[in-house]
Subunit: 209 residues, 2 copies
């Protein structure tokens, strides 16, 4: 079973990637980023009296909204609960998970902009007893410096500093959960397909150790 | 009982208006516009394979999202059903209605961009046996020409052509339902307060007859 988070930066590349994932004969759970919907929340947060908790709630609902969008353009089903998700995944199915119900019901994640859908994806993966997740974004992985730096094949979560392609809360949660994370460029679906098939391709593996 | 639709153009003026409405000793049901969230859907619709039905669904959910935002900044409760809404309104309460459950459950409105939250507001008002709604927007009412035209005190729904401050589907629904609509500038909450108190102020009344 694999979990792939498709970041908001891939919104306009998502259709091709989703259609490629549909062809794979493996169970795949997909979690979107909040994308431009979440950017609206960020703007409301900056310009009005919306507080951190309110922004957390709205931004989490934006992830659902983007998930419904992914479903519209790909025909992949959505669900808001892992009970139904597991049934579909057992049949090598693909499912887009709408996480707001789980995230707001359990309410274990900080109400902060350091938490984005990367952290949400990892949090969901933990409930599924996974050991790793794939974060698809619009760059090739994590660089030692950006722009102009060198792409890292691997980096430990504890060494991640400053600019990365993942949210600020993710590294500490990787360490806590003892999980790894592959950051890969979703504009090249074949890289993700290769990873799913156990073949390394251009990406960065963030290890928890 | 009054129903006020607060348009997306008032997003950054909504807090003051909502706080003024809270002071009124009358039952008021508030329906938001989808605002910048719905603009994201519009962009996805224009740039990707999102179809009309998909866009209708997502845009309707954006109205809920904006309603939750209004609730965050004002402390006014939300509900997604008219059963609970009526209970709160009976006590001279204020309620923000999240319409997606009713709209998508009943599915009577066209899946078209001619339908926006103006039409949604009128549709909801019909379930409440209301005879009129107030549409708060960022202009003073309906002009005979815009920009540079004359503000109309009143206009018949059947005479509305071209540019107006309301969505394209609204006039025919006003006629069908035999309801009137006041278009008023929400940047001046006192105009809305006056209307609620039965005093005319600067606005346009769109009549069904």
């Amino acid at each position: 079973m694999h979990l792939i988070k498709i970041g908001g930066s891939l919104t306009y590349h998502a259709e091709r990637l989703l259609n490629e994932l549909k062809k794979i004969e493996k169970p795949i759970i997909i979690i979107p980023g909040g994308g431009e919907f979440a950017n609206v929340v960020r703007k409301l947060y900056e310009k009005t009296n919306l507080n951190d908790s309110g922004a957390h709630k709205l931004a989490t609902l934006c992830v659902d909204l983007m998930g419904l969008y992914f479903s519209e353009i790909s025909g992949i089903e959505t669900t808001d609960n892992l009970f139904d998700a597991k049934r579909i995944l057992e049949k090598n199915g693909k499912i887009i998970f709408l996480p707001s119900k789980l995230i707001l019901s359990a309410d274990e994640l900080p109400h902060s902009w350091d938490v984005t859908s990367d952290t949400i994806a990892l949090y969901v993966a933990k409930f599924l007893n996974m050991e790793e997740i794939i974060v698809a974004t619009d760059v090739d992985g994590v660089y030692d410096k950006y722009p102009g730096g060198k792409l890292l094949n691997t980096i430990s979560a504890k060494d991640i500093r400053g600019f990365t392609s993942v949210d600020k809360h993710l590294p500490q949660l990787l360490i806590k959960y003892k999980m790894n994370c592959y950051v890969v460029n979703g504009k090249y679906p074949e890289r993700i397909i290769n990873l799913l098939n156990g073949k390394m391709d251009i990406c960065t593996k963030i290890t928890w150790f």
